[in-house]
Amino acid sequence: MRRRRYEAVVIAASTGGIEALRAVLRAVDPRIAAPVVIVQHTASENAQALCDVLAAGSAIPVVEAESRQPLVNGCAYLAPPGYHLLVEPGPRAALSMDEKVCHVRPSADVLFTSAADVWRGGLIGIVLTGANEDGAAGMAAIRSRRGLAVVQKPEEAEMREMPEATLRRAGADHVLSLQEIGPLLNRLLCR
């Protein structure tokens, strides 16, 4: 039997990200054997509302990540607004109020880099639509650990800067349309 290679997913999304995330989460199989950890840039302080929007139509639960919370398979975790979300050995969540990175907090670079340290080659990173460069450096960290890099097709993204910046800086293993991302995760992560 082939050893399952991947064990966790991290996703970066910014402008236009909510619709994009919904499209991905809608297609995810509830038996997915990985935690899904998400940074969505937002001006809103209300994480619960955002979780509810994402959870509607998603087959897996979407919760706001709490400090020290264990990250379990089949659950999606959203970084709380105003805090960086990091992954620590466990795996579990950690929060920080450090300076903004790429003008944002939470920053996907912070999430991706810390997650790559924990899950190494077992990590799948996904960069979706957005109008900045957050996630590019983080994706480079994931690739340096031989994790899998998935980027939304820039021409299809509502904002193409973030996918493009990631492709420039880190490259990708898959450049996909939104409809293809969920099924890929299911193939790689469902037993």
């Binding site: 400090s67 620590e88 950690a94 929060l95 920080s96 109020m97 810390s114 340290d117 340096s144």
Partner: protein
């Protein structure tokens, strides 16, 4: 070895150097954010590697102050989380008013943003003259800045919005003067404030407090260190005293959970209770 794993090795050595040479112990900090801080420090001082950083830490006189200043995360705001400051004003102040003295400990005060916020609330509630605020941090650099009470003008707008949302009864601009691109908080707000260095890792209990405010510090601590700090807070509080944490911090699953009651569901404000054995 992956470069990031090599950095982990260097960070372990750096941590030891800091402890053995200067007495600062970061072993109880949450590892991922600590790593970020050390790498940010390296970038800020232009060290070619973390190993070079260790060299300077060991041999360069006075460098440790800058190291601590940069490992500390003095990121804050006045009245950050207005809802919480609103609760302090509407729920906590009336109880504090029943005590003859009001000792407040602000632990991890960064550049003082929350110290002045608390001072303003106490003033507007008519309690300031009976109050004494102990503002502590383990970074001397942060304490110096906190004493100055000077902030960038472009933050004043956010601070003012926060202040109003938190139930401020006047206008925040009553409490500062704007000059050039900065604001300076009214010096009278400092009259009953004592700034002091206190390290939550190694220092002890702090008097008989009616209110302890420690926000967004525990998120940086591992479980054991968090428990240590929380025991310290518990043992520094009078019966019925209040503990105010950051909005993403809670006492759930900690060593002192049983010693406190939540003020309101979902709020990070707790009250010290003595339970019958």
């Amino acid at each position: 070895m992956h470069p990031s794993d090599l950095q982990d090795v260097e960070i372990t050595l750096f941590r030891e150097a800091l402890r053995m040479r200067h007495g600062y112990d970061f072993s109880g900090y949450a590892p991922a954010s600590f790593k970020r801080r050390v790498l940010a420090l390296q970038a800020a001082v232009g060290a070619g590697s973390l190993t070079q950083l260790i060299e300077r830490l060991l041999h360069e006189e006075g460098f440790v102050r800058e190291v601590i200043a940069r490992l500390s995360v003095p990121v804050s705001e006045m009245f950050r989380d207005p809802r919480v400051f609103g609760l302090l004003r509407s729920e906590v102040m009336p109880v504090l008013a029943t005590w003859p003295v009001i000792n407040v400990w602000q632990a991890g005060c960064a550049h003082g943003e929350e110290v002045y916020s608390l001072a303003i609330v106490l003033r507007e509630c008519g309690l300031y003259d009976r109050a004494h605020i102990f503002a502590t941090d383990f970074s001397d650099e942060a304490l110096t800045r906190a004493e100055e009470g000077i902030y960038p003008l472009h933050d004043a707008r956010t601070y003012s919005d926060n202040y109003l949302k938190a139930g401020g009864t006047g206008s925040l601009s009553d409490w500062f003067i704007a000059r050039y691109q900065r604001i300076k908080l009214d010096e009278s707000l400092r009259r009953r404030v004592t700034f002091a260095n206190h390290n939550l890792v190694s220092d002890g209990v702090f008097g008989e407090m009616q209110l302890i405010v420690c926000r967004n510090v525990l998120i940086y601590f591992g479980d054991e260190l968090q428990d240590r700090a929380l025991r310290l807070f518990r043992d520094s509080l009078v019966h019925g005293g209040f503990l105010c944490l950051g909005s993403k911090e809670s006492l759930a699953y900690t060593a002192v959970d049983q010693d406190f009651e939540r003020l309101a569901p979902g709020s990070p404000i707790y009250r010290r209770v003595i339970r019958a054995p």
